[in-house]
């Protein structure tokens, strides 16, 4: 069965006065229906631009999608007219954002903002739209939904606003929900509640989720497959269990190695050990290495890494891939 969303060699450039930079450089991945797929990476690695590119929401200027295909439900989104694209946005693909505090329009009520989406995509009466809005708020467990639809966003807490955002995104039963760091701005307890809610909704509504996050803990808990991104490129794609059990790409290995284990990371006298880190910095956009972009920070690097523009390639097992010349050696080394 064909995946719900198949992104192939997506490239998005930003055109600045210093020149054109590829924020997303030939990134490929796919999301199956009903599955949660995570894009994970540190700030600036291009994961949010990837998400925005799927809905063609990258602000132009300065950004533009310059290559690749985004096949969604059998159609290439990049070839659609604006009018067709607008039917996809909010209709077949919903999106929620990082900042619930600023992602709702302050001068309209919650109900207005939910029904707006319904009335845009369906011919539905005002009264029916309102009824549906109340249903949706119930669905995302906002208490007293009947009253809340008349409330303005500033009356709601961050967690409640993110719930309202989810209700908006789900208004037209999308097949895919793009969640761009949906919990980064929330406190830990609320984070867990929102992620649980998303997970339940995914099961009950049968939709797929593209989860953008920098939190490996979240990936482990809620995603089925994952693409690790580094400096605008995909470096490792795998099922979640495989990735956490046996990471291959040195960057992924570094990330997992950097996760703190407060109980184990102590020396013989019980003092905490220093935290592990990946040495060095992400290269600047205008100073990208010609070969592997992780090579300057990589402990596995060999001279060939400097020369080879290595891309995501399937490994022997077939279900996973990594962008590393030494992938085979690393797999062999693993216990």
């Amino acid at each position: 069965m064909a995946p719900l969303l198949d992104v192939r060699d997506l490239t998005t450039h930003f055109f600045t006065q210093k020149g054109a930079f590829a924020a997303v450089d030939k990134v490929s991945f796919s999301v199956n229906a009903g599955e949660t797929m995570a894009l994970v990476g540190e700030s600036g690695c291009g994961k949010s631009v990837t998400a925005a590119s799927i809905l063609r929401l990258v602000p132009d200027p300065p950004g533009r999608i310059t290559g690749g295909e985004i096949i969604f439900e059998g159609r290439d989104l990049l070839s659609l007219t604006m009018r067709e694209m607008r039917k996809v946005r909010g209709g077949r693909i919903g999106m929620i954002f990082q900042e619930p505090m600023t992602s709702l329009n302050p001068v309209f009520t919650i109900g207005d903002q939910i029904t707006e989406s319904l009335r845009e995509h369906r011919s539905i009466s005002r009264a029916d739209a309102e009824r549906r809005a109340i249903e949706l708020l119930d669905l995302v467990r906002i208490p007293d939904a009947r009253r809340q639809i008349h409330n303005y966003p500033h009356r709601l807490s961050g967690g409640m606003r993110q719930r309202a955002m989810i209700a908006m995104a789900l208004a037209c039963d999308p097949a895919l929900l793009i969640a761009d760091e949906p919990t980064t701005a929330l406190d830990v307890t609320t984070q867990a509640q929102i992620l649980e809610l998303l997970d339940e909704l995914k099961r009950s509504l049968g939709m797929a989720i593209l989860l953008i996050t920098h939190d490996l803990g979240v990936v482990a808990e809620y995603a089925q497959s994952v693409l690790v991104m580094y400096a605008g490129r995909g470096v490792e794609a795998a099922k979640v269990e495989d990735l956490f059990h046996s990471p291959i790409h040195p960057y992924t290995r570094g990330l997992l190695g950097a996760l703190p284990h407060p109980d184990d990371d102590v020396d013989s006298e019980g003092r905490p050990l220093p935290l592990n880190e990946i040495s060095g910095m992400v290269p600047a956009l205008d100073a990208m290495p010609a070969g592997c972009r992780f090579e300057p920070r990589c402990s596995y690097a060999v001279p060939a890494c400097k020369m080879t523009d290595v891309r995501l390639a399937p490994l022997a097992e077939g279900v996973r891939s990594a962008a590393c010349l030494r992938a085979a050696d690393i797999v062999q080394d693993q216990p």
Partner: protein, 371 residues
């Protein structure tokens, strides 16, 4: 002890929610956006939530008007000379006796402090006094001239606000194109050009060269139009002064609106609106415009005072029989009563406009007040 602490915590919480609610534009120098209304709790007061803040504002406004009146008096009397000096000077050879007689008749021989309290006492009874220059009560002079200024100022403000906003919106939606460049440059030019010069140039072009419009005055002298013909005649006379006066404000609003729209276009909730599948037009006119209007409305309120100053120039250039020219004449002739009356009238106008703007604001932005 325990109870006191709890109350403090509650009080702190109230403050916290207040600061969260304060929007970015409330700092724009408005007299009306601080304190008072945030303390309102509709459950505690029986007065309807919208009436209460207006009432409290009204009291504050009265205090402000009184303070302005007092300040006016002090400033006006700091200038040397009075109406008696001017009149005596104009009469040619005035004897010291004549001067002293004038001063006594006008009450100008009293100590300043006595004059001050006499003046404030009269103001309290809405008695604006007598213009020694015109030989008529100040109130009747003002009310005779006020309509002329209002039919100049109100259309000016409306034209400037509507056209300025439209131009700003057009420029912001086509940012970086020739249309944006043309509007921005035009706005800059009219913003920087002195009003009186624009007025004179328009008179030369449309009044003298083309002969399409009258060059000055408020009606055709000697025509004695009545009814609809009179309205039409005044309308024709209005065009040049209104256009002259509104060009400056139009330029200002266009610049402000453009900047405000561009700022709102960059907000997160605009990405949300786009992700819902709304068209660019709907995003701009529904989601951006309403938010972008807020700072523009603030400035609109503040500029009413500025506009009253602008009418002085335009009324002078176009020979328009309004309040502005009356004020100008009263300054030159040291007609203190008349000047103070006009200043008081203007301050009441400005203060009441601000109350109206505040009400408009509450309607536009649900974050303010008890909405």
């Amino acid at each position: 002890m325990q109870k006191v602490v709890k109350r403090n915590i509650l009080g702190y919480k109230n403050n916290e929610s207040k600061s969260q609610r304060a929007p970015f534009h409330s700092t724009a120098g408005s007299l009306w956006t601080d304190g008072a209304q945030e303390r309102l709790d509709p459950q505690r007061f029986h007065v309807p939530a919208l009436i209460k803040p207006v009432l409290s504002r009204l009291w504050r406004s009265v205090a402000i008007v009184v303070a302005i009146a007092a300040l006016n008096f002090i400033i006006v009397h700091m200038a040397p000379g009075d109406v008696a000096d001017v009149m005596a000077g104009e009469s040619g050879a005035a004897s010291p006796e004549y001067l002293a007689d004038l001063k006594q008749r006008f009450g100008l021989d009293q100590p300043l402090i006595v004059q001050f309290f006499v003046y404030m006492g009269r103001m309290a009874q809405f008695d604006l006094g007598y213009s020694f220059r015109f030989g008529r009560p100040v109130a009747s002079l003002i009310f005779e001239r006020l309509p002329a200024t209002l039919i100049l100022a109100i259309p000016t403000l409306m034209l400037a606000f509507v056209m300025g906003s439209v131009l700003g919106v057009v420029a912001s939606r086509r940012v970086g194109t020739w249309r944006d460049a043309a509007i921005s440059v035009g706005a800059l030019v009219f913003y920087a050009t002195p009003l009186f010069w624009i007025g004179l140039m328009l008179i030369i072009l449309f009044g003298v060269k083309l002969g399409w419009l009258p060059t000055g005055g408020m009606q055709t002298i000697g025509a004695n139009y009545t009814g609809f013909a009179y309205v039409l005649d005044v309308g024709r006379h209005m065009i040049l002064p209104v256009v002259t006066l509104s060009l400056f404000y139009m330029a200002y609003y266009a610049r402000l609106m453009r900047a405000s729209m561009l700022e709102v276009f960059g907000q997160d909730f605009i990405a949300t609106a786009r992700s819902k599948g709304l068209s660019e037009g709907r995003v701009a006119y529904r989601h951006v415009l309403r938010n972008a209007l807020l700072p523009v409305v603030t400035v609109l309120g503040l500029q009413v005072a500025h506009l009253l100053g602008g009418t002085v120039l335009v009324e002078t250039v176009f020979g328009w029989p309004g309040l502005g020219r009356l004020a100008f004449d009263s300054v030159l002739s040291r007609d203190v009563n008349l000047l103070l009356g006009i200043l008081l009238m203007s301050s009441i106008l400005v203060v009441s406009t601000n109350i109206a703007v505040e009400a408009l604001y509450r309607w536009l932005d649900p974050r303010i007040g008890a909405a």
